[in-house]
Structure formats: C-alpha cells, structure tokens
C-alpha cells in the first residue's frame, strides 16, 4: 500500500514534467508572431501601436495551449487525482 502510493506520486511527478513540455509550442508560436511583428514595424513604422496590440492579443491567445499543459501538471502535483 505504502509502496504503491509512493510509486504513483513519483509517476505523477514525471507526468507533470512531461505535461509542461507543452510549453514548447506556444514558445515557438509567440516567437514567430513577434518576429513577424518586428518585420511589420520595419516596413511600416507609423502603425507601430496597432501592430503591437495585435501581436500581444495573438500571443495571449496562442499561450492557451501551453497553459493547458501547465494546468495538467498542477492537477497532477497538487490535487493528486490518481493517489
């Protein structure tokens, strides 16, 4: 019983670590968005404020999938549904 619980806790920690690998995707996506925004500002410096707000909105939406991974990790570590 004791061993089983500790085994499940350890596996939950590994699972939490694997879940936050989901952060790679939004990282790449946000980088691409920022790069294109920089290019757009270079082409049209007058529209800088519009470009910045559009970029931030898009990045915040793109972040969501990474946050789902974070949420799974949090659930595994703190709520411990499997123990």
């Amino acid at each position: 019983m004791e061993f089983n619980q500790n085994f499940i806790l350890g596996c939950s920690a590994i699972g939490a670590g694997l879940a936050v690998i989901a952060g790679i995707g939004p990282g790449i996506g946000q980088g691409i968005a920022a790069g294109h925004a920089a290019a757009a500002v270079g082409r049209n410096p007058g529209a800088k404020s519009d470009i910045t707000s559009t970029m931030l909105l898009g990045q915040a939406v793109a972040e969501t999938t990474g946050l789902y991974g974070l949420l799974i990790a949090m659930l595994l570590l703190f709520v411990k549904p499997l123990v």
């Binding site: 915040a60 939406v61 969501t64 946050l67 974070l70 949420l71 703190f78």
Partner: protein, 239 residues
C-alpha cells in the same frame, strides 16, 4: 500541499484556496472560502469608487477637473475599446463589457495588495465564461432566429453538427481556462519565489509583480473582453 515542495524545505508556500467556515444546506456541506472574501473586497472597492464617481458626475462642470477627469477618462477609454471592435452594436454592449473589464482588471491586480486574486479560482472565471456564453447564444437566437441557428450548426454539411456543437461548448471553457490558468500561474510563481527564495527575496520580486500581476493581468483582461466582443459580433451577424 505537494510532498515534493515540502521536501525541498519551504514549508510556508501557500497558494491554495482555504475554507473559512462551512455550513449545511440541503444536506450538502458548503464552504465559505478565501475566494468569497477576496471577491467581496473587490466588490466593495468597485462600489466605493462607483459612489464617488456618481457624486462627482452629479455636480459635473463643463470643464472637468480632478476626479471627474479620471472618471471621464475611464468611461471614454472603455467606450472607445467597445466601439472599435463592435461598430454599430457598441451602445448595447458597452455596459456589460465595461463591467466585466473593470471587475477582471481589479481582480487580477489585487495580487499586488496581498489578496489571492479571485480570478485564480476556477469558480469565478467559469461564471464569467458562462455569462459570455449566455449572451452569445441569446443574441444568436434573437438575430438569426431558429432557422439561422440550425443552418449555422449544419455548416458545411449536416453530418458536421456534433463537431459544431462541441465547438460551441468549448467557447466558455477555453475563455475561462485561459484567464484562470494565466492568473494561477502568476500566483503560483509568486508563492514559489516568496516561499523557496525567502532568504534573498528582498525588493527584486517587485519586478515579477509588475510582470505577473500588472502586465499579464491587464493583457488577459483585454483578451477576455476582446474575445467576448468578437464572439457576440459574430453571433449578431450581418442583419
């Protein structure tokens, strides 16, 4: 509390919701939690501001000065934001969008004042998401009528209807989870800094507060309102 964090030495890491007292209703145990208290504090703050604003506007001058200036600035900013996204439908929705904007913004930055942000509790954000969901579908039925809604569900073919329904139901869930997870990640980060690095945590966590509470909170508020406006405009259609 996770065993792993306890093992690493910081025993006073605390970012969970705590119950304050419980009572029985219809055979169920219901807890009054710290979230209720924080929401109450945020409400009192907003109500106090509203009363002050009401008094300032009642004896308004043609040339605004002092507090009246601040109130007019806030109202004009919110109206401009709604107008730039919703166009001719803006007047009907400026109230709702302004209300949730102010509530979410004050909730998000309340972490600065030592509260646990109410939006870091899924109960609060799910309620906001469900409110947006009801408004979207009320307007969909009002402006597109039953035939339009059914036509929208069977787009492009009737066999896609289940997928479209899943897409509709996913809207409030993704809206609320986005806000919740963003604020929660900031809260957890600050709790880890103060709990695990307490021996060097002097002054420099202020920078993290500016990012996690102010910047991230403001962006997520903007995103929530922006998406709400986009969905509602989409539901009203071109009628």
């Amino acid at each position: 509390m996770g065993q792993g964090i306890l093992l690493s030495g910081g025993a006073d890491i605390d970012f969970m919701v705590h119950g304050i007292f419980s009572y029985e209703i219809f055979g169920q145990t219901v807890w009054i939690t710290t979230t209720h208290v924080c929401v109450l504090i945020v409400f009192l703050l907003i109500i106090g501001f509203c009363l002050a604003a009401n008094r300032a506007v009642k004896k308004a001058d043609d040339v605004p000065k002092g507090f009246q200036n601040v109130v007019e600035l806030i109202v004009e900013m919110l109206d401009g934001m709604v107008k730039s996204t919703m166009g001719k439908n803006a007047t009907k929705f400026a109230n709702y969008i302004g209300t949730i904007f102010i509530f979410i913004l004050i909730s998000n930055i309340s972490g600065l004042f030592g509260l646990r942000p109410p939006t870091a509790d899924y109960g609060v954000t799910l309620a906001l998401g469900v409110m947006t969901f009801s408004i979207i579908h009320f307007n969909k039925f009002k402006h597109q009528h039953i035939s339009g809604v059914i036509k929208g569900l069977c787009d492009p073919w009737p066999i896609w209807a289940p997928i479209n329904i899943i897409g509709d139901v996913a809207v409030p869930i993704s809206l609320s989870l986005r806000l919740f997870a963003n604020v929660l990640s900031g809260t957890v980060m600050m709790a880890l800094v103060y709990g695990l690095l307490s021996w060097i945590a002097t002054a420099w966590p202020a920078v993290l507060h500016v990012y996690f509470d102010l910047f991230s909170g403001a962006i997520q508020t903007y995103v929530f309102c922006m998406l709400t406006m986009t969905y509602v405009t989409d539901a009203i259609g071109e009628s």
